[in-house]
């Protein structure tokens, strides 16, 4: 069951690579949150109630409801156009994503460690690299935030791969999410929307050495 969920998670990455509209990205992020919750629910069997509540807060409330709603609000408020505007054509994006996944599978096959759940590791690592790729290949600032959220999802999966015995680390990961993303999303995107006319990476090139 977990395998199916994780593979579905991987497929959402491919979908994201070729998606055109900003709303699709937001929906995919919300869906990933739900997937993560189900995975955690099945994975962590003997977990305390407080821990479970924390994880639910983090995945369902935070990742699937609050952040997507907030992103949709930001889109609307700043009148961001609905195209994702990638630098590369979608076909190339798809190829690169495939490449990332294949490389991580090869990499994880070369690891001999009994403590590691390989499928978790593959999904986590490809999500990480895919997030970095999204950040590098899209023009809008808001897609950078989405790339960062994808990376966070990857870290979440990774902490599940290791964190089976270590709930403290999972909690720490939750803290990371709530702290950093709320700050990044909340304060500054709206400010950027107020100050700069179009919300585009090219408007952030005024800091120079001379």
């Amino acid at each position: 069951m977990i395998d199916v969920l994780l593979i579905t998670f991987l497929i959402t990455l491919f979908y994201m690579a070729i998606a055109n509209r900003m709303l699709t990205y937001i929906r995919v992020l919300a869906f990933q949150g739900v997937l993560l919750f189900v995975v955690v629910f099945i994975q962590l069997k003997e977990v305390s109630t407080i821990n479970l509540v924390l994880i639910m807060l983090e995945t369902i409330i935070f990742k699937s409801i609050a952040v997507p709603m907030f992103l949709a609000y930001v889109l609307k408020r700043n009148k961001i156009t609905r195209e994702a505007e990638p630098y590369l054509p979608n076909f190339v994006s798809l190829l690169i994503t495939t490449f990332i996944v294949v490389v991580t599978i090869l990499l994880s096959n070369s690891i001999k460690d009994t403590h590691l759940d390989k499928i978790f590791f593959v999904v986590a690592l490809s999500t990480l690299f895919f997030g970095l790729y999204i950040i590098a290949s899209r023009r809008k600032i808001i897609t950078h935030v989405m790339g960062y959220l994808v990376i966070e999802n990857g870290v979440f999966v990774l902490s599940l791969a290791v964190g089976n015995e270590m709930p403290m680390l999972v909690n720490l990961g939750i803290m990371l999410d709530i702290f950093a993303s709320v700050l990044i999303l909340g304060i500054f995107l709206n400010k950027i929307g107020d100050v700069f006319k179009d919300i585009d990476v090219s408007s952030l090139t005024n800091l120079k050495d001379y």
Binding site: V162, L204, K208
Partner: protein, 475 residues
């Protein structure tokens, strides 16, 4: 005491944030500084005591805690001058000082943390408080700088977290899941080398955003440029030291494993690349604050080269970190007076500073001599020891390249500083140059003098602290 310090720090910050009255604001800041100094004095008398389970007063922590206390006092004073001169509103003053106090408290706590995850949490807190300081001016450039800083720091902090996860994987065989540095050192023989390598790479990359090394140095440059001078002084010195602490504690763990040589290679190449990058930017840069920030990149590159070389390099690296903090902070404090005279950051519109503010110009000149490690600067001693360490480790080729790069940096730095000091600025209107009291430069002279004293004639206790902090490394 740690608990009292943390509670005091954060509650004073809350008080500063809520309060709009000038007198209460001042007294809260004085109380905070008293707490800060008392805490560092207390730490000296409780060496190697662990408090609250996660904080240990070890030698490296004490040394850097003393440094931050020494720098915090002039930083608050100069911030006060800055806020008054700029006629800032009560609200922006409240946010500024609250962020400053949170920054100092969380850096102090992160120095002492003996658990890598605790270091990580407080590093995250420094990002949050620093972003409030960078965004102080609330204009377009500040927004851009803050966005970049927060984004890059968020990614780096995620990297550190991934590193911590890998570290716990590498502890898999040790039968203990405790991620304190002491436990990691104790089990260093049992760590799985593959995961340890990955963990070190990720943790190193993550902390370079704070330390200011290749690859994540860019965000820090914007931050130091845009934060007000006194806050920039903290970002350029004690916050960089926090990155050093994170990397150095992890380095001690890996240095006691067979991966020592590999770690040296990683650290050394990042350090050398940073020196190279710093040289390239120093030659081109025309913004005075960014020039100082790039000089910080150069110094941290030297420090990490010293660590990579080993031997006497370890001692030199820690000495260099402390002395650099004193020298660079004094230059940043001085910058604000310069800006009050010329109202410009660009070297093109600044010049003949000796005519307008002789005392400040003296600070700039002495600071330049200190920062480029010319005798009698204390940094001369530490850089000399780093070169000796490189020589003894048979990195002769690297040493020659480093010396070449440093020569270029001195040339570029000197060219700009002497332009500021002696060559008249174009179209500068002399009629409304403000009079700047020489008293505002006293703290800078003390800091620069302290750097000379600690370098040339280090007190026995100081040497002892440095030797203790490197005693865990294989000699």
């Amino acid at each position: 005491m740690t608990l009292i310090y943390l509670i005091a720090g954060f509650s004073i910050a809350t008080g500063l944030f809520l309060n709009r009255n000038r007198a209460i604001n001042n007294s809260l800041l004085v109380v905070f500084l008293l707490f800060q100094v008392a805490f560092s004095v207390y730490s000296c008398y409780h060496k190697n005591v662990t408090e609250l389970e996660y904080f240990t007063f070890d030698s490296l922590g004490i040394l850097l805690l003393l440094t931050i206390s020494v720098i915090a006092i002039p930083s608050v004073i100069h911030s006060k001058i800055y806020i008054v001169k700029h006629n800032e509103s009560a609200q922006s003053r409240a946010i500024y000082f609250a962020a400053l106090v949170v920054l100092i408290t969380s850096i102090g706590a992160a120095y002492l943390a003996n658990h890598i995850a605790v270091t990580w949490i407080f590093t995250e807190l420094t990002t949050l408080s620093a972003s409030a300081l960078i965004y102080h001016h609330r204009n377009k450039l500040a927004l851009e700088g803050t966005w970049k800083y927060v984004f890059i720091c968020a990614i780096s902090i995620t990297f550190v977290f991934i590193g911590i996860l890998f570290l716990s994987l590498s502890l898999g065989n040790a039968g203990s899941e405790d991620l304190t540095f002491a436990n990691l050192r104790a089990n260093s023989a049992l760590l799985n080398p593959f995961w340890l390598r990955l963990a070190f790479l990720f943790i190193f990359t993550g902390f370079t955003a704070k330390l200011g090394l290749v690859p994540m140095f860019t965000a820090g440059i914007d931050a130091k440029d845009l934060a007000p001078g006194p806050a920039g002084a903290l970002l350029a010195t004690v916050l960089m030291n926090l990155g050093f602490v994170g990397i150095f504690r992890m380095y001690i763990v890996i240095a006691n494993t067979p991966l020592h040589h590999w770690a040296n290679l990683v650290v050394g190449s990042a350090a050398f690349l940073s020196l190279f990058v710093a040289t390239v930017y120093m030659i081109r840069v025309k913004n005075i604050k960014r020039m100082l920030a790039y000089s910080g990149i150069e110094h941290m590159g030297l420090v990490m080269l010293g660590v990579a070389a080993g031997g006497v390099g370890y001692y030199a690296a820690i000495l260099h970190v402390v002395l650099h903090a004193l020298v660079k902070s004094s230059l940043f404090f001085q910058y604000n007076q310069l800006h009050r005279v010329f109202q410009n950051k660009s070297i093109y519109y600044v010049g003949n500073y000796f005519k307008y503010n002789p005392t400040g110009a003296m600070v700039l000149l002495l600071g330049f001599i200190s920062a480029t490690a010319m005798p009698p600067s204390g940094l001369f001693v530490s850089e000399f020891l780093i070169f000796r360490a490189l020589f003894e480790a048979h990195y002769i080729f690297i040493l020659i390249l480093v010396l070449l790069l440093l020569t270029m940096i001195i040339w570029a730095f000197g060219k700009n500083i002497f332009k500021i000091l002696f060559i008249p600025a174009v179209d500068f209107n002399e009629s409304n140059v403000p009079k700047i009291s020489p008293w505002e430069s006293v703290s800078q002279f003390i800091l620069l003098g302290g750097a000379v004293y600690l370098g040339l004639n280090p007190p026995a206790e100081f040497v002892q602290l440095i030797n203790d902090s490197i005693s865990l490394l294989p000699q």
